[in-house]
């Protein structure tokens, strides 16, 4: 069944878009990531313009992350205090990121900057996660107990002032590194046009040593707030949010996220981290291939927005 999209100005197959929402929703529910880094390229692939894709995906992610948040809230797997502290840094970071976005665009190399940052960040984060989770799985295989709190895990930033106790996460750390992480996520998210969940999850796990189960719910709160406000911002500044496209995506996304969240709860933390690591690395490599391989066509045309 084809339906004509009022903002994207093209017809799409409802079932195809629904299935895309379902698949990305499953992944996002499972790993607690927004899934923007998967959905945006998929939409561009079926012919939606990049600008409409980015704007509409934010609405879709807001929906699937809200359903995830409710789910994790019921399981008491959200550290609200930590989420609020991260958001405080995140807002400043987003503003800084939007500024850099504008500068890069005026220089004319935004596409390259986005491509390169996808490759570098995704490959690095993916590889680190794979290496760590494989080590954890190997340790378990050899019968050694899993090291939940290693003695040497106290890093330099545990000596910083303004310490707060986050009960839900069972951590006692300074708010400074939390603000910095929030800032980085907001900054990178704004520049790369993603929610940043795939970066936040490993940062919370490896830097702050928040338990994996709490990390996902907490990261979803951050994704929800940033994406809901991004929806309104995109609608006001560019008029590019396609509500019809978003609705089809989010119905699929919400259903997918429910099953994904369940699948995630049944998986062991290190397995989950290994899978997410593989996914992140795969997308990073896909971008690397796109940059290195000879393109089918060295020419491309794009409409000048705002005309």
């Amino acid at each position: 069944v084809q339906i004509y999209l009022p903002i994207a100005d093209l017809p799409v197959n409802v079932f195809l878009v629904f299935a895309m929402g379902l698949a990305v929703g499953f992944i996002s529910g499972m790993f607690g990531i927004g899934g923007g880094f998967l959905m945006t390229p998929l939409l561009i692939f079926i012919g939606v313009s990049p600008a409409v894709s980015v704007a509409t995906v934010t609405t879709h992610i807001a929906a699937s992350s809200f359903s995830g948040v409710i789910n994790y809230w019921r399981r008491r797997a959200i550290d609200l205090a930590l989420a609020v502290m991260l958001l405080a840094g995140g807002f400043v970071g987003t503003a800084a990121g939007v500024w850099l976005f504008t500068v890069l665009r005026s220089v004319g190399q935004l596409d390259l900057a986005i491509g390169l940052s996808y490759v570098i960040l995704l490959s690095a984060v993916g590889s680190l996660m794979i290496a760590e989770s494989v080590r954890a799985i190997m340790r378990e295989r050899h019968g050694k107990p899993a090291e939940l709190r290693r003695p040497g895990s106290h890093t330099w930033f545990h000596g910083l002032p303004f310490k707060l106790r986050f009960k839900q996460s069972r951590i006692y750390v300074s708010v400074i590194p939390i603000w910095i992480i929030g800032f980085l996520i907001g900054f990178i998210g704004a520049v790369m046009g993603v929610g940043g969940g795939f970066l936040l999850v490993p940062m919370l796990i490896y830097l702050l040593r928040v338990p994996t189960a709490v990390v996902i719910g907490t990261s979803m709160v951050l994704t929800l707030v940033t994406m809901a406000s991004a929806t309104v911002l995109h609608a006001v500044t560019n008029h590019l949010v396609d509500a019809v496209l978003a609705l089809i995506l989010m119905v699929g996304g919400v259903i997918g996220a429910q099953f994904g969240a369940r699948a995630g709860q049944n998986l062991r933390g290190e397995r989950l981290r290994l899978l997410l690591g593989l996914l992140v690395l795969a997308v990073g490599l896909r971008f690397a291939i796109g940059l290195v391989l000879t393109p089918d066509d060295v020419y491309s045309i794009r409409m000048i927005e705002g005309d």
């Binding site: 004509y4 100005d9 609405t59 809200f66 609608a235 978003a246 940059l291 020419y299 491309s300 005309d307």
Partner: protein, 261 residues
Amino acid sequence: MRARHHLTLLVVLALSCIGAGPAEAERIVASVSNHRVRITSSFTGLELVLFGSVERDGTSVPRRSGYDIVVTVTGPRESLVTRRKERVAGIWVNVESRTFVDVPSYLAVLATKPIDTIAGTETARRLRLGLADTLLPQQIGADLADVVRDDPFRVAFLRLKSERGLYLEDPHGVTFLTPTLYRTTIPLPADVPIGDYDVDVKLFADNAMIARTSSAFELIKVGFEQFVATAARDYSLLYGLAAATMALMTGWLGSVVFRRD
């Protein structure tokens, strides 16, 4: 040099028009099957039919070669940037770009036979008949100018537009049903731009244009599509808040429907 050349041609054209006026009294009429194409949620592209006839009167001289017709359909204007990638230190980077200013978003050239056999190369170029002769102004520094036909950016632009079905040239798209009655179809792809379309019909005989007429049609969104598009543009804050609320509602509904505990 080029400018003077064009000027000369214009003068020649003007003189020939004056000289040929009364003897060649053919007229051409054309009509599109639908002047207002409504885009609803089930729109997946469309073929518009254009009908018309060549009207002769007593003074019309018999034509040795018969009549030929070129129909040009031009969509709303838009500006596009064409970029070229090049390998720099192992990775493909957009190195060069050209901006095409106010070029047709849709362009169809339909004819009874190949353009260069209808009119001579010079005439075809002067009247900008085929796709290759279409005026495509580029932003060059502070100026706007069209470039030579085989400019790589221009060629790439035409090729990319043609691949999307938005530019096309069909040398056998117009058919004569009787010696004076003709018909053609204008293929509009699914992602055809919304707006006003101009249809220009030129009648040729013996390698020269002898009559010309124009028509138009518009593509408009109606019903729900139109409501959403208008809301997004005119009430953007409300629209954004509504979209965000819709997202939250959908998320909440999903978690209620799928609640198992």
